[in-house]
Each structure stands twice: as C-alpha cells, then as structure tokens.
C-alpha cells in the first residue's frame, strides 16, 4: 500500500510505530502533488522545503522518544484564505492581495503546528471563497479528480480535490454557504462544517463573518473527527468562538464507534423537491435505506423557509457582510495597487476594479445595495428576520429528530464552464447547504455512492448546534457499512 493511500490516523500510527518516517510521509505527498497537481491544480502554493524541514523535526523528536502531537508528521493542506506566517503568501485566489504575506498565523494554523502537523501547501478556492466550482480563482480553475472535465465544487475545491486525489490525507476548508460540504460531495470525500463558534475564525480571511466556519476534509469520518478535535475550542481572539466553559470540546474519537440508538432521521420534503437530479436522489435514498436497515426511523420534517427563502436570505446576508469585509482591499496599506491612478479616489477605484474578479465585484455591489440607506429595511433587516425563521425551522425539527438528511448538492459534479455564465444556476448548487450556515448548526457531507458516469454523490447530515460528536457517530454508522473510501479516482490510477 502506498503511503498516500493511508488515511491520516493510519499514517500517524505508522509514524508512531516507526514503520514510516515523517519525512517519508511528507515526501510521498510532495511526490503525489508533483505528479498529479499539474492536472488537478488543487494547490496555489506548495511549501516543499518548509514541509521537509518540519517533517525532519518531527522525525528527530520521534527518534528522541519525545511526546508528539495528535497529528505528528501528518501532511495537511490548508485553503488559501487562512493566514500563515511561513513565507507563503495568502492570496484568497485574488489579485487584490498581490503578494501579501501574513505577519501572523491563523488560530487553526497554530493548532495544527502545536499537534505536529506538516503543512505542505495552500489550496485553490473561488476568489474570497465566493463560488461553488473553484472556477472563480484568479489563478485558474481546479479540476475534479474523478473527471478532469468537471468542477470539484467550491469554494474549497482545492482542498477537496487534494484529499480526493490522495495528495494529502486531510485538509482544511471554510464553509460559508456549503463551501466545504458541496466540494466534499462532488469530490467524494468527507467534509464537515462545524457549528458556528466551534472553531476560531481568527486568521481566516473573512467572507461573511456571521456564516464562515473552518472545517475538515478527510477520506474517513475518523480523520475528520481528529482534525476537528485539533482545531475546535476556545480562542479569546474570536469573540464569536464559544468558551470552553460553555461548550467544552468533547473527545470526538472516543465515542465515534458508538452507534446512535434509537436514531430518528428527519427528511425535509424541501430537500427532495424540484431541481434534484434523479440519479443523485436514487443514490441518496439508497444511503437512507442503509440507515433504515440499521434500525433508524425515517421521519418527514418540514423546513418551510429553508430552501428557496434560504438562498435569497443567504445572498443578502453574505453579500452585505462581504461588501463590508472586502472594503479594506483598497491598495493603500497592502496588496495590489494600480499603477495608473490620477488621485486617491481614482487609486481606490482602479485598484479594486483591477484587483477583484467579476463574481466578487457582483457580490460587493449586491451587498452595498442591500445595505444602502433606504434599502436596508427591505433587504438586510428582512433577511435577518427570515434567518430567525430558518433557525426556528431547525429548532422545531430537532425536537422531533436527531438529525436531518438529504442530498448535499442537487447534482453531481458539473462540467467546467457549464454554469459560469449563469450566476443564479451556480447559486442553486448551494440550495441544500446554505440553511445550515444561516441557522449556525453543524453539517457533514459523506460519500454515499456514484452516478453511472462515475461521479461521487454526497449525503448531507445536519445536526443541532454543538452536537458534532453525535453527528460524527451517525456518519460513522453509515461508513462502517460501505466502502466508498477505498475507491480511487481515475487520475490517481493514471499516476500509479
């Protein structure tokens, strides 16, 4: 078995048993990246030297018998909207940041380093995490390892593709409206969006502050649990991150193998309506049948505000916050500055006109419009009211059921370029994922089968705030019954 076929826990255990070295693990990942990434284009930057140095350090510590962290020697990729002070620029896949290098580490980067992880590089994304296909990157689109002509989903498409193509066992992404779960579904990997406030956002370049959360990509539920374990918990630098006293971080791995019994699964009729691809529905229903076989009870629930209203609400809240968060990119203090401006205002305008891509500009304009005086009440304030109704839908549902299930995305991976001319069609890729962010609850996407064309399909499981431990156990119940993780995407077979 190739080192890159090991999942993170297997790799970590092999390292601890000294069967492989951290340098070998990192070397194997770097070789896989060198071999595959010219086709997949998952990475924006690879820090080969830094990763080898870090791996050698871990080897030294292992040799000296020192205690090492939970992820000691395990290679990890992080989405390029998280700050890292290692010399690699933080680009958010945008020209506007120029060659900006963060002078500080994100909280999650600190946590990874503390647990001995080896960060090998930074992955591609839709510019500022705005998009569902990773085609909105200023530095080129990422390809789906299962079909290079298809998109990997987005916005964390680089991290999803890197894990799917076995370039790294685990990676971090961020999820504002489905940006972890949808690419996880389209790339056939596990992707988890934690409860809002579970993981510190300090050092995550903000898209929509009240929706953004950092979460793990992995090929197994246990790896996702471990990466969540490492990154979750209190951070005083993020006021929206919960305190350890109010919400201590449970030991996710300790309880993982315990099935949830009895298990009541809510199926919202809104998640199985018009727009859902027939083949995707069939695959998802077969996964539900597995749960039924395990003794789960399937219950229909109603989330009246959580599909069509959710998309409208999401695009008002997210664009409004984005228009504000992205105001700082003006060419004054850092990042890209136009060279041909006449005066200060012209410098602002040209720097932003030249630095941002079309989708980002579209969302900044939408957000500025929604926040304008005279429109605020009709849009932003109304959206906040609907947001509360969506939260209410879930609160009500979770009084009846332990979790909610449905497809992660209405379709499997679509073709590159298929939706770039139609923003609304693109926005509908998120129809099942955005309500989770609006409600602030936890959600996971699990590989649950393939279409006839060999494209992965994702099962989305949603659970109430701060119940990631139960969510992971529910996910693990299904994973034990299937073997999707063993299947390798064609691009890997080609390289092997």
């Amino acid at each position: 078995m190739a080192i890159t076929d090991l999942n993170a826990i297997q790799m970590r255990d092999a390292l601890r048993r000294r069967e492989i070295s951290a340098s070998e693990a990192t070397g194997a990942c770097l070789s896989a990246i060198a071999g595959l990434d010219p086709k997949v284009k998952a990475f924006l930057a690879v820090d080969a030297d830094g990763a080898r140095r870090r791996a050698a350090e871990i080897d030294k510590r292992l040799a000296a018998g020192e205690t090492v962290g939970l992820l000691a020697g395990v290679p990890v990729a992080i989405k390029d909207n998280m700050c890292i002070r290692n010399g690699l620029p933080t680009t958010c896949a945008s020209r506007i940041l120029g060659n900006w290098k963060a002078p500080y580490d994100a909280h999650v980067v600190e946590r990874l380093a503390a647990e001995g992880a080896v960060i090998v590089g930074k992955t591609n994304l839709d510019e500022f995490a705005m998009g569902s296909s990773t085609e909105n990157s200023a530095f080129g689109a990422t390809r789906n390892p299962w079909d290079l002509g298809c998109v990997p989903g987005g916005s964390s498409g680089g991290s999803a593709a890197a894990v799917a193509a076995r370039m790294v066992p685990i990676a971090l992404g961020s999820d504002t409206g489905g940006s972890i779960r949808q690419p996880a579904a389209l790339c056939g990997v596990v992707g988890l969006k934690p409860t809002y406030g579970r993981v510190s956002r300090y050092g995550l370049v903000a898209f929509a502050s009240s929706l953004d959360q950092i979460g793990p990509f992995a090929r197994t539920v246990a790896d996702a649990a471990m990466l969540l374990q490492v990154t979750a918990g209190e951070d005083k630098r993020d006021s929206t991150c919960v305190s350890g006293r109010d919400q201590p971080v449970p030991d996710y791995l300790a309880s993982l193998e315990e099935p949830v019994k009895p298990l009541r699964i809510g199926l919202p009729k809104q998640f199985f309506g018009a727009g859902l691809d027939g083949e995707v529905e069939k695959v998802v229903r077969s996964a539900l049948a597995v749960y039924e076989r395990l003794g789960a009870q399937l219950v229909e629930v109603d989330l009246p505000h959580s599909t069509e209203y959710a998309i409208a609400t999401y695009y008002i809240v997210a664009t409004s916050e984005a228009s504000s968060n992205l105001a700082r990119y003006d060419g004054v203090h850092y990042g890209y500055r136009s060279s041909d401006h006449k005066d200060m205002i012209d410098m602002y305008m040209r720097s932003r006109a030249q630095g941002f891509g079309d989708e980002v500009k579209r969302r900044i304009m939408l957000g500025n419009y929604a926040l304008s005086s005279g429109y605020y009440d009709a849009y932003y304030k109304k959206a906040l009211k609907v947001r509360r109704l969506i939260r209410g839908d879930f609160e009500k549902a979770f009084r009846q059921v332990d979790c909610i299930m449905g497809p992660t995305s209405p379709t499997a991976a679509f073709r590159q370029g298929e939706k770039t001319a139609d923003p609304l069609a693109m926005y509908l890729s998120d129809v099942y994922t955005v309500s989770c962010n609006l409600a602030g609850i936890a959600g996971i996407s699990l590989p649950c089968g393939f279409t006839a064309a060999g494209l992965p399909v994702g099962l989305q499981v949603l659970s109430d705030v701060f119940t990631e431990d139960r969510l992971l156990r529910i996910a693990r119940m299904y994973e034990r019954e299937v073997d999707w993780a063993a299947r390798r995407p064609p691009v890997c077979e080609g390289a092997a």
Partner: protein, 488 residues
C-alpha cells in the same frame, strides 16, 4: 425679526478614554511616539483579524453615561460605519449606530444666565482613526496608525445650547466631569477631546405652527474651547446673515444639513459637504462582536461607584460649609482638591478656616509651582494639624503661614516645627502686659494721638507690642490689654 432667530445648538463631543490599551487589540495607547510603532495586525485591519472588546473601555463609557444620568439599556450593539479614507485601514469604523450603551441624560452648566440644563441624547463607544499627514512637497500623504483603534467616547447632546458661551461652558463641564471621573485625560493639545457643534437658528413658527430652522451646520473637529466658542459665534452670525438675505430659501427644509470646516487662523468656516454629498455609511451590526447585554448588578455597582459630581459638590460646599461661590468653584474644580479640602474641613470642624487655608496658601503654592495637589509635599492630615494649632491659639495666623512654608520646605509636621522653633504663642496676660507696656513706653506719641481721637494709631501700637513679643503673643490678648491701658 432677528430677535426671533434663536440659536439651537447640539454638540457631539469625542473624547479618548483613559485605557492602557486600544479598543480591540493589545496595542498601547500612547501619544507622541514614533509613527506606526503601536500597531498590530488587528488595528492595521489586516485580512483575517477580529476585534476583541476592551472591557475597561466599556466600563469607563458606562461610568461616564451614568454620571450624565443616562439609562443603560439591557441591549446595546456595535455597528460598522463605512467610508473610505486612508487613515481607516478597514474602511469601516466600529461604532454604535441605533442602540448605544447610554441614552437620555443631562448635564447642568453654569453660565452668565445661571444654571442651564443641557439634555444628553446618547453616549456611545467607538474606535478612533489614524492620522494622515500631507507632504509639504510632493504628491503624496503619509499615514500614522498609532491612534487607530484608540477608544473614543462620543457624547451627543440635545439641541439645548443657546449661545457660543454655553457651547464652551458645556464643553468645559464635560471635560471637568470626565477628568473628575477618571474616564479620560482630555488633554486638548494631544487631541484627546474634540468637538462638533451642530448650529442652526430657530426661525419663529411656520404656517403650520411648528418651529422652522435655518439649515444645520455640522462643524467638524474643533479641538479647543476657544475654537468652539469662536466657530459657534461665527456660525450664528453667518446663519443670521444668510437667513436675513434670503428668508424663504435659507431653511432646513430646503438645504438640510451640511458639513463645515473651521479655519482657525482666518476665523471663518467653509463648506465641506452639502446635503447632496452626504455619505451613505451603510451601517449594519458588527458580526465580529457580541452585543453588549450588561448585567444589572454590575451596572448598579458602577452607579454606586460614581462619585459626587463637581456641580453638586460645589452647591453643597456653598450650602453646607457657607463658602462663597467663587471659593466653592475653585475647590471643586478638581476632585483631588475637593477631597483634600473636605478632609481638612471635617478634621478641624471649621470649614471656613479650612477654605481660607486652601485658597490663600495651598492654591497659591499649586499655581506657583504648577503642580497638582497630589504633588504637594503635605497631606490633608498635615494641613489639618496646622489649622488646628492656629484655631486652638497655639500659634497665630501669621506664624501659621510661616509654619506652612517651613512644612513645605522641610516636610516636617506643624507641631514639630512649632516645638523646635519655640513658636508657640504667649497667652499669659502678665507676660503680654510687659510687652504692651514696652510698646507704650517706646511710642508715647502714638498713645497720645490715640487718646486724642486718632484711632488709626492703635494699629501701630498693636504692631509694636506684637513685635516686642517676637510675634508670639496671642493678638487677641494683646488687643484687650492695650485697649484697657489706653483707657478705651
């Protein structure tokens, strides 16, 4: 007609809070340090950073709001106010828009027309911006972000101010209050306090019976009491002139609110932005901060901790201690001075004598040496001892003044000095009789003049008798014996 044009002025006052660190990060608040030396990713607004509220800043804000008689709502929140300027790295300012932490208070001010009560609309906490300096030569500006993120308290008054004098008095009273409470240093030279008067004139009533006004001029960033007074005086006159020239046009309905700058050298104001050019700040709730939902017990503790305010104390000094208005004003201008005085007054149980010492001796030294009362090399207890010695007749008032100076010079107590230098006055009448006799013998002419009706000669004889005693005789006893001997 012009008699009806009554100035209607509201003030927005900004003051830096006396916190050790900035509002959202751990950078120090310092003035006159190397540009861009107190900065970090958070106050530089770098990608990925988040603000963390400074608890001390919130506490000082609530203390000031309570002292102004404001209600502290159960829910307040922060909002983002957007505008593009290079001294604002995020291009939005974190402020409080529609739900501030303090609402509906008042401040009483002393004016030539007596006490006036100025309503306080709201008190809110926000962050200050950096400083932009334009190069004298060359087509560029430089930015210093040390000030970025400094906690700034904004106090908005009702349009209750009626004159430039009142505007100034209001500013001074706010400053005194903030310093008194330890909320801010309010050093004007350091830009720790800035004023934005909103000036308009009330033009009688319109056809609908409702009052009408001239446009509102918001005067930006005045940073001294003098400039407030001058700018408001100028603006009132300018409004009057504009209105009288075109009464139908120069109204609030027509022109709305405009933003004006003040040229202190020229003594004139100039238009910065008209109503049409007003910014749309696109306020919305700051998603990176949790709302402020104060614990009522905490608020009540803060309320209990608010000391007696200067104006109230001044009135109490007048009514309870019988001090003249002027003395009461001087003694309550600073909290430490008022505390010092009250300690002396209650200790010697003679508020008038204590006030006399404070006004004549203590304040003189503070002014001469340009020091605060904390730096006076004497405690209230030390002074009380001296005042008591005089009151008991151990020494007389003149000797007391000498002892006071010696106390300052040596740091010794009054009792020590009196004892060491044998300054205790002589109260024994037989001894004093000898001094009086000595004085009469040596000044027979003066005694004769006095008996002949020239009462003014008494002073001379009194002085001579005191001199004979080396200044130690009890003047009251000298006076009695002298009068008796002169047959008066």
């Amino acid at each position: 007609m012009s008699a009806e044009l009554e100035p209607t002025i509201g003030l927005e006052v900004h003051m830096h809070l006396k916190t050790r660190t900035k509002l959202f990060c751990g950078c120090k608040v310092e003035y006159d340090v190397r540009p861009n030396s107190n900065v970090c990713p958070v106050c530089l607004g770098m990608p990925g950073v988040l603000p963390v509220m400074n608890r001390e800043a919130v506490e000082l804000s609530v203390r000031m709001a309570l002292a102004l008689g404001c209600a502290i709502p159960d829910f307040a929140k922060w909002d983002r106010k957007h505008y593009y300027y290079p001294d604002l790295p995020k291009n939005y300012q974190i402020s409080e828009y529609d739900q501030p932490l303090g609402v509906g208070g008042h401040l009483d001010i002393e004016t030539s027309k007596g006490t006036r009560r100025i309503g306080i609309t709201r008190v809110h906490l926000e962050e200050d911006a950096g400083k932009l300096m334009h190069a004298e030569t060359g087509n560029y500006s430089i930015v210093d972000l040390n000030r970025t993120g400094t906690p700034l308290l904004e106090i908005v008054s009702e349009p209750d101010v009626r004159s430039a004098e009142e505007a100034r008095a209001y500013g001074e009273a706010l400053r005194q209050l903030a310093v008194y409470l330890g909320v801010g240093h309010c050093n004007m030279q350091l830009g720790q306090m800035r004023f934005e008067p909103n000036v308009s004139l009330r033009i009688g009533a319109g056809p609908d019976g409702k009052p009408r006004y001239t446009p509102i001029s918001e005067m930006k960033n005045l940073n001294s009491f003098r400039s407030v007074e001058r700018a408001v005086t100028y603006e009132i006159a300018r409004h009057r002139e504009e209105y009288l020239a075109a009464p139908a046009k120069y109204t609030l309905e027509n022109l709305g609110k405009e933003t004006r700058g003040w040229n202190d050298d020229a003594g004139t104001s100039f238009l910065m932005r008209s109503k049409e050019e007003a910014h749309d700040y696109r306020y919305f709730p700051e998603p990176d901060l949790v709302p402020f939902m104060p614990d009522r017990k905490w608020v009540e503790e803060l309320r209990a901790g608010v000391p007696e305010l200067p104006e109230k104390r001044r009135r109490r000094f007048i009514s309870d201690y019988g001090l003249p208005e002027y003395d009461a004003g001087v003694l309550t201008a600073e909290r430490a001075v008022a505390d010092f005085y009250e300690k002396v007054a209650t200790s010697v149980k003679d508020p008038k004598a204590a006030s006399n010492w404070m006004m004549q001796d203590v304040m003189r030294v503070l002014n001469e040496r340009k020091i605060g009362i904390a730096e006076l090399p004497m405690t209230a207890e030390n002074l009380a001892e001296l005042v008591a010695l005089v009151k008991q007749g151990t020494i007389n008032r003149n000797t007391g003044a000498e002892v006071f100076n010696k106390m300052l010079a040596t740091g010794k107590s009054a009792a020590e000095i009196v004892k060491a230098e044998g300054l205790a006055q002589v109260g024994d009448s037989s001894a004093i009789e000898a001094f009086v006799d000595q004085a009469l013998a040596a000044n027979a002419k003066a005694a004769q003049d006095y008996r002949g009706g020239k009462k003014a000669s008494f002073g001379r004889l009194m002085g001579e008798a005191m001199k004979a005693s080396g200044g130690k005789a009890n003047p009251q006893v000298v006076k009695e014996i002298l009068l008796k001997k002169l047959g008066g």
